[in-house]
Symmetry: C2
């Protein structure tokens, strides 16, 4: 495996360097410009994070320009250089370049970059060491994507306060819903202590703007319960690395913790013994980790313990934990993934999609102000297509973050390519109408709509111990893209893809065109050969990979399609269905409730229709199923052809691994096509209008 | 747990004693008769097996009659007694009672029992110690079932030579398809050494007539491969116990064994190095276990290694092993469960049902005479309903045993009651027409039809480390019944049930009536609420428990029903289907091939028909499905009622465990009913004529 302090990408890299591999830039005008400006650096601060920024700068410059960066005190004042530092850090160049007015525009984690001909420097200034780091990563990205740097004048602040990654790593080394090998934090119920890899991970995350990482699974098992006690020293050693990169460490905790350790006979959040137990734990934690972020809690969800056991509500539970963390500035992130997972499939009244709203809407305003509710993007569970959760817009007086899933649990498990940034963008742009005409989700989760104290974005990690971090090399684009989008939701999916491709493979227009097309088409392709028209869940139970139309149809999980020989879909309308559509506001509610207005791609999520129902596209539902599945499998096959056009043009170690996965995807897409088409042909008896082979 | 040497069933027994629990007999004329005759015993032989018979006799008499058996030398010659011994064993009473003509009628494992007023004794004589043991168990059974013993004149020989149990126990302690806890042979890759339990197990098996047990799974993993080398001492210590009870120990072996131990670079059966490797192993084995039975082999089956790898056939493979065992009288039991388990579900030409016949019919006559082919009762895999394997009748010059599955893999996994003796009877009575009009399977497997050297019956065990051996107490009846049927296929399912009930619960007419009815109805009930009309396989993949109509429909396992909105079933006819029906002989082939003549219960196994097809019963297929499923779930519910009529009449420890399972079955039967009915209603769109609730 590549050593973490090895600077140059080697042929054995296999993608370990990811977007911080710093491939050498092509010779030419820009490269000469960069060499001219970047040969020397001015840093005056000893702060660990500023020093980490300096180290990254040196590594990047050496990789991209093949020059060694010099400290500037060896230079005469007329030489060009890059100056890096906080506004109050005593670097004279930073002080000279940025005025008080400039500094006022830069927020706690923001930065400014300005090329000053007068001062012969490019100054990267920030209010905090973390801001300095983000600024340096940004400047390196400008170089990696071949931007002009002679007239820079940039001020950037992150749009979202919390930009978080949730690991679902278990202490035994497994990763729940992990598709990139085992955990690099744990193995066999011990901390692996692979600090080199953890540091590289922190670099990668910080470079995209991530500032919070929860290192253990939200399903907290017996031994992980002890992370806040017996294992604090090991947890602290990871926090020490994260801190260098501006990342606060969070832990998922077991709500029943007080009982688990045998000290308190209950976990009732209103019990004084329980409250003081958590307060003592908080004191211990902050002793070990002064900047500890807080707790992530999955309570009363999928058989996890929670306040319901004691007749308390979620606000009681969350507030009790928040009280314990409050003195130290910690926060409680309380997940809203609460539903009845013991549903009877015969029961058509209970609707899992309603659950988060039904549980949490009545609690709006009852949470302490250091509690954040974490709400999944959709009402179900990270399907390839779902509507946006109606809880966004419903909570006016509650801190909230949106939860995405970078891990491709239901979107091909990193064996299929599925670039999810376009999906996330669509969700963030969704207008909730919660506060007038312009109330998109992005303004709820950035806190601006309601003026929340805390807000932001969280997502389930897709990384593991595989050499390339994400199993599928192209899945790195989701990891990168998530961080960038969390920093700035205004970035387009194309821009983000372009950055990632340039930083990973070098700036070559052919490579960029091919890979960008693969990425940008991939979600649509994956959707087209899997579950149709928003109905979801046609996958094998438990592991969730591969087609199985009835896999969840007779289950307890609230996940049904109700296909019969006439039609398919879930009636969630007000008049004849579960009434879920009424959880939306205004025209959204009306649109989803209406068979005529409901968008095609969500039709079967909201309506039960005959196979002969005609979509807005002009096709019947059944013909849409056949057509999209034939087309989807064909397009998956074309991805292989597209990729193979890059052979010889791309590093072989990167080329071959993606080729292998794309070939697997093409074969598996045919399996999806045939199973789905056969199922619906057998059920409906309706022939394909184009008379293609259905089994 | 009950000590194995504790004689009296106690309230804590929970079924551990099983049919050797020897409950006290009721006071009365017969009990007085037994006390009169059975107070003393005459045994002159020191042979371990004869002594085991004596010990069992004493245990039985003490349990049933509450008297201590005395050695007869303390008695005067006029007293009544039981005399036990081999014909050549020197017991004067045995010599006096049985003439040379009597002795000639008794075969190697047979026995004679005669009440002799002249000699004041009941004599149990046999040609071998094992025969003595079987005779004693038989006499105990006569007492336990309250038969007159004053005029006994019985000569019984086992009908089948090999009466075998196959364990699918793994060295790690798991039991493949085990539903009664973990293995009592192994745990955590070591021999448990629980010799008390193994001895009790041997007693139970011997009492039913079992004379061969293979102690490890046919899927032989890495460490089990070493059972024939490194672990021989531990294996021998089990064989030592089995030997006391007339049972020969067999081992399942890994065909790739020679490669596994790294001594030989191939497992090619024609390779001299391989042949001598196996010969050396055989020598080692017989050194440790002089009466070792032989090998059980699953080769080229479900990814197990075999001769195909080397371009050899099954005869090459089996004969090579047989050659190694031949000098010691050992045999090779070669399983015929060979099929393509990587089938494409789109391929309707390949038919798994054909596979065993297609593979083995051409090899008839090519096997050495110490090879036995082990053929599963049906062509698929122990479904609740299958036709009889057409390989029975097709092999005229090959030793063969039939393989049943006592473990209820596909018949409720010992959570549902399913008394399988009626199913086995039906298979054994099936007329193959292989050699004229009267060629039932039972005369093929007993060797009489073709005059085979070896023949018999094998079955997969249903026992585990659960206190009651079989998880469901009523599943003990299958274990008991299997052995009894293997001894004598002429016994009826009713007789066997009656014996088991009396021996287990005591001779009470109410108990007998209720439990007998539960047992005898149970197969039909289970069949009625599960997969209909012989189609099979509507179960959850992998673990095989519970309904899942499409669970194996799009799989690689060759297990399809092809249900569409018009109809269902597998066309195995000659004209339009896979031609499987032609593997049968004469009128069987014609009957199965004919849509008109095919028996209802196998209709969907042989034919694809519309849901509106009218059965011989007069019902349509779809109405049959609805009716049987409603009735089946109702009858499962009635089993609870039936059983509860026994409360207070039955030992509480036995009553409660069965009640719990029957309640679980009743609930689960409803799940079966609703899922199956809903699936077919949704698919066919045809209403239930009785308008019952279908979801």
């Amino acid at each position: 495996m590549k050593e973490s302090n090895e600077h140059h990408v080697s042929i054995e890299d296999h993608g370990y360097g990811a977007w911080l591999g710093y491939p050498a830039l092509p010779q030419g005008r820009l490269q000469e410009q960069y060499v001219k400006w970047c040969g020397a650096v001015s840093v005056t601060e000893a702060d660990d994070t500023v020093q980490a920024a300096l180290a990254e700068w040196s590594r990047g410059i050496e990789g991209m320009l093949a020059i060694r960066v010099q400290a500037d005190h060896k230079l005469s004042s007329g030489n060009l250089r890059v100056a890096i530092g906080t506004f109050g850090g005593g670097n004279a160049l930073i002080h000279s370049v940025f005025s008080e007015a400039d500094i006022r525009k830069v927020e706690r984690e923001g930065f400014a970059i300005r090329t000053s001909a007068d001062h012969h420097c490019i100054a990267v200034g920030a209010a905090s060491p973390a801001g300095v780091l983000y600024g340096v990563f940004h400047l390196l990205r400008l170089l990696g994507t071949l931007q002009e740097i002679e007239e820079l004048d940039i001020t950037l602040n992150p749009v979202n306060g919390l930009r978080m990654i949730n690991h679902w790593d278990n202490f035994d080394g497994s990763v729940e819903r992990g598709y990139a090998g085992r955990s690099f934090f744990y193995e066999n119920n011990r901390f692996k202590g692979d600090m080199g890899r953890i540091r590289d991970y922190a670099r990668l995350m910080s470079s995209t703007g991530i500032n919070a990482i929860a290192i253990n699974n939200v399903n907290v098992h017996a031994l992980e319960t002890l992370f806040i006690s017996d294992y604090l020293p090991e947890v602290a050693s990871i926090a020490d690395i994260f801190r260098l990169y501006g990342i606060r460490l969070f832990l998922s905790v077991n709500f029943a913790g007080p009982m688990h350790e045998g000290e308190v006979g209950t976990a009732d959040p209103l019990d004084p013994g329980v409250r003081s137990w958590w307060q003592r734990k908080a004191a211990d934690i902050y002793q070990a980790i002064p900047d500890f972020g807080g707790f992530v809690v999955k309570a009363d969800s999928e058989n996890r313990p929670g306040p319901f056991t004691y007749g308390r509500d979620h606000a009681d539970g969350a507030n009790m934990l928040a009280e314990a963390l409050e003195p130290y500035g910690g926060i409680v992130i309380w997940r809203c993934f609460v539903y009845n997972c013991k549903q009877d499939w015969r029961d058509r009244k209970t609707d899992r999609a309603r659950a988060a709203y039904d549980h949490f809407k009545p609690l709006d305003g009852k949470f302490k102000d250091n509690v954040i509710l974490q709400i999944k993007n959709g009402p179900m569970d990270f399907q390839v297509r779902e509507p946006v959760s109606p809880l966004f817009g419903a909570l006016e007086r509650t801190n909230q973050v949106i939860e995405f899933q970078i891990a491709q649990e239901y979107t091909g498990q990193q064996r299929h390519v599925c670039y999810l940034v376009p999906q996330w963008k669509e969700v963030l742009e969704f207008n909730t109408y919660a506060k007038g005409e312009a109330s998109p989700v992005k303004h709820i989760v950035d806190g601006s709509l309601w003026g929340n104290r805390y807000s932001g974005i969280a997502a389930v990690s897709n990384v593991g111990n595989d050499l390339n971090w994400t199993g599928h090399l192209l899945a790195q684009a989701n990891l990168y893209g998530y961080g960038r989008l969390a920093w700035n939701p205004e970035l387009s999916a194309e821009e983000i893809a372009g950055e990632w491709i340039a930083l990973t493979f070098g700036k070559d227009p052919t490579i960029a065109a091919v890979i960008s097309r693969i990425l940008l088409d991939s979600w649509e392709i994956y959707e087209s050969y899997t579950a149709p028209l928003g109905v979801g869940w046609m996958i094998n139970p438990e592991h969730h990979y591969g087609p199985n139309v009835d896999g969840y149809e007779y289950s307890q999980w609230g996940t049904y399609h109700y296909a019969d020989n006439h039609g398919i879909g879930v009636d969630r309308t007000v008049k004849s269905g579960t009434g879920y559509s009424s959880q939306y506001i205004g025209s959204n509610a009306a649109r989803y409730d209406s068979l005529e207005e409901c968008p095609d791609e969500l039709l079967l999520f909201f309506h039960h229709v005959p196979y002969t129902h005609v979509l807005h596209s002009g096709k019947t539902v059944i013909q849409h199923i056949y057509d999209t599945h034939f087309a989807g499998a064909e397009r998956a096959e074309e991805l292989v052809t597209l990729w193979s056009s890059l052979q010889g043009n791309l590093r072989e170690d990167l080329y071959v691994q993606v080729e292998e996965r794309l070939k697997g995807q093409a074969a598996h897409a045919k399996e999806w096509r045939d199973q789905i088409n056969t199922y619906f042909f057998r059920k409906s008896g309706i022939m394909d209008a184009s008379q293609r082979i259905i089994y």
